[in-house]
């Protein structure tokens, strides 16, 4: 074992992403840091607009103007990605870090067979394989995600939602990445199919020894799938802790609200939403961005932005934690 393999596979360091807006600079990701161990399952949770998907794109340096990475760095196997030229970054995508974007199952090319779309990834990354080897690899990939080999000859419209999502996972793992980022991979699927797809993702991840970043807002799914969870609010990580600690004792009021908003199957009660709306990033409230929606807010929360503090296993940005 080399030192590299036992250290983190991915390190995100003080990452900041900003978008130019006529009314000012919008910071969609603000000072986010975390690291990912090999084979670890990491979750990123938060409401829409909290910056989770932007963070995923920033890790792969896929932020397009008017957005840009303002500050911070991402290290993959210890090496900084900030200095890499476009060609090297392009090679790293899919081969090192693979992204399954939100809604990707609906962005499969409708006029190309699934096998063709997987083969495209090989070609794009300079793998020159013979026809037989390509077909063999495609069949092996499909079987890894639990699809029959005949799917290679099918078009996306011939597949069900769950099959399409598994096909997307097959594309994501075709170059044996070390990190798989899955952005709401099951949001359009019903629960039975969702569990099948997540079981598939868990299996290929174990087989590859890859780490997974799962992005979503379903705290039930997070509780059942990830090892550690980061909770984002208005572009910042407000809590980061092992998942069993978060479920047993959420420390940030926003984390508690996210868990409470999950409808229970044990008890019929008044549904607990999170009052108010996520703030506009253009006019972030002073102090803690969550204070207008927080039932516990005190004067200090309105004035002073809470720094991230380490409390036992958890990193929390809350004055009251």
């Amino acid at each position: 074992m080399t030192v590299e393999q036992s250290g983190p596979v991915l390190q995100v360091e003080c990452l900041r992403v900003a978008f130019e807006h006529p009314r000012g600079l919008v910071r969609a990701v603000d000072d986010v840091s975390f690291s990912l161990l090999p084979g670890e399952r990491f979750g990123l949770a938060g409401e829409s607009g909290s910056g989770k998907s932007t963070l995923a794109l920033a890790i792969l340096r896929m932020i397009k103007p008017p957005g840009h990475i303002e500050a911070g760095d991402v290290r993959f196997l210890g090496a900084s990605l900030a200095g890499l030229d476009d060609e090297r970054i392009r090679a790293l995508r899919l081969a090192g870090i693979a992204l399954v974007p939100q809604g990707s199952m609906n962005s499969l090319n409708p006029v190309l067979r699934i096998g063709h779309q997987i083969a495209d990834a090989f070609v794009d990354h300079g793998l020159r394989l013979g026809r037989e080897e390509t077909e063999g690899r495609i069949a092996a990939l499909l079987s890894e995600v639990g699809l029959p080999a005949s799917v290679a000859r099918m078009y996306p419209h011939e597949l069900s939602g769950g099959m399409k999502q598994r096909a997307c996972i097959a594309i994501a793992i075709c170059l044996r990445p070390k990190v798989i980022i899955a952005d709401e991979p099951t949001s359009a699927l019903d629960v039975v199919v969702q569990r099948q797809v997540m079981a598939t993702l868990a299996r290929v991840q174990r087989d590859l020894g890859a780490a997974v970043i799962l992005i979503g807002h379903d705290m039930g799914l997070m509780a059942q799938f990830v090892d550690r969870l980061g909770v984002m609010y208005a572009g910042r990580l407000v809590e980061l802790a092992p998942i069993d600690k978060i479920i047993a004792r959420p420390r940030h009021p926003y984390t508690r609200a996210l868990i409470a908003s999950l409808p229970s199957l044990e008890r019929r009660s008044t549904l607990a939403g999170i009052p108010g709306l996520a703030p506009s990033l253009l006019e972030l409230p002073a102090g803690c961005a969550f204070h207008p929606r927080c039932g516990l807010a005190v004067e200090r929360c309105r004035r002073e932005r809470p720094a991230v503090r380490q409390i036992e296993d958890a990193a929390v940005a809350c004055h009251l934690a």
Binding site: S48, V191, V192, Q194, R195, F225, L258, P263, L265
Partner: protein
């Protein structure tokens, strides 16, 4: 109460829908002989739960008169929807409102949000003066937790998804309907807003006496807002009854699978481990049980004989041979199981003993 022999507001009697196959393909059965009645007097929330392709949206479209059944009839106050006169049709259009899944698709981006609220006011002459109309719209918006000054005058893209969906609820409320058919109203909004919208649906029933058919694939939200549930699988009703009984002790193997597949925010992790890897195969066909190809408890008889409904309790019916010792229930008697029979809805009534 329901024995008052009052005519239901909306009644689906043994309705089925088959979509013709094109280009030589076989036709598709979207809904098989379903019966459902919405009482005109006692409001209730009925959840229709199923996966995509189970026929739940087809049922919504049939109830709204947007599609015609291939078999059976949908009646509005006793009259077949196909035979409504002009005045009756107008009354039907007012009494039965729809809320759809996509809070983005229903707006015309070139009009202000006000447009979707003013149109029904004008069309149905809900107010005599502009001031009265403005008052009416304001009241409806406030009823769903929106501040009119934050909503009116805006364009759709300036509102959040949750706000847009709540404006649709307000719009439905303007007409004081008797029934709202809500097809996946919260599947596109965040978990945090979901609760708020569902709470406003519940409020429509409690405070305004509006019945709701809540169509969803999410059993957990159905449990929170509904009084009764119909579980659909591949066009067939597999289980129906009072929601607490069904969710607390599901009887049909499909309902059991649905409930076990919901990931829960708990520390004991059973969810992934209990995935049985069984995937839906080709349907067994009309001859057998619709769930036979996936059922962990399948037996030989399931493949060639449809199970039929069995009444396992006064307010429960299950279509499965495991319960065949219970009295058989004709499909068109299903509304009886879903009616209140004088029971207080939503109360935690003890589950009645099974009668064998």
């Amino acid at each position: 109460m329901s024995q008052r022999s009052s005519i239901p507001l909306i009644e689906a009697a043994d309705v089925s829908k088959r979509f013709a196959g094109r280009f030589g393909r076989e036709s598709t059965l979207a809904l098989a002989g379903l019966s459902l009645a919405i009482d005109a007097e006692t409001p209730s929330i009925i959840a229709v739960v199923g996966e995509s392709g189970s026929g739940k949206t087809t049922l919504a479209r049939l109830l709204l008169g947007l599609a015609e059944p291939s078999g059976g009839t949908v009646r509005y106050r006793g009259t077949d929807l196909r035979r409504l006169g002009h005045a009756e049709r107008l009354a039907f259009r007012r009494d039965v409102q729809a809320i759809f899944q996509d809070p983005y698709g229903v707006y015309n981006p070139f009009y202000r949000v006000d447009h979707v609220l003013w149109t029904p006011v004008r069309r149905f002459r809900l107010a005599g003066t502009r001031t009265a109309a403005r008052e009416l719209i304001g009241t409806a918006l406030r009823a769903v937790g929106l501040r009119p000054e934050e909503i009116l005058g805006r364009f759709p893209h300036q509102l959040s998804g949750g706000q847009r969906q709540r404006v649709m609820v307000a719009r439905a409320l303007l007409l004081r309907p008797k029934l709202i058919v809500a097809d996946e109203p919260v599947s596109m909004v965040d978990a945090s807003l979901r609760a708020t919208i569902l709470a406003s649906l519940r409020q429509l029933k409690d405070e305004h006496g509006i019945s709701i058919v809540y169509i969803t694939h999410d059993l957990a939200t159905a449990y929170q807002v509904s009084d009764k549930i119909l579980v659909l699988y591949r066009a067939h009703v597999v289980e129906a009854g009072a929601i607490e009984q069904v969710v607390d002790a599901p009887q049909h193997p499909y309902t059991q699978l649905l409930i076990s597949a919901i990931p829960r925010a708990e520390t004991g992790r059973q969810w992934l481990a209990s995935e049985d890897g069984r995937r839906a195969g080709p349907p067994v066909g009309d001859a057998g049980c619709c769930f036979a190809d996936r059922c962990p408890q399948v037996r030989a008889g399931c493949l060639n004989r449809p199970p039929g409904l069995h009444r396992t309790a006064p307010q429960r019916a299950v279509a499965c041979v495991l319960y065949r010792e219970h009295p058989a229930l004709l499909a068109d008697a299903l509304p009886e199981v879903l009616s209140d029979n004088g029971a207080v809805t939503g109360s935690a009534a003890p589950i009645p003993p099974r009668f064998v």
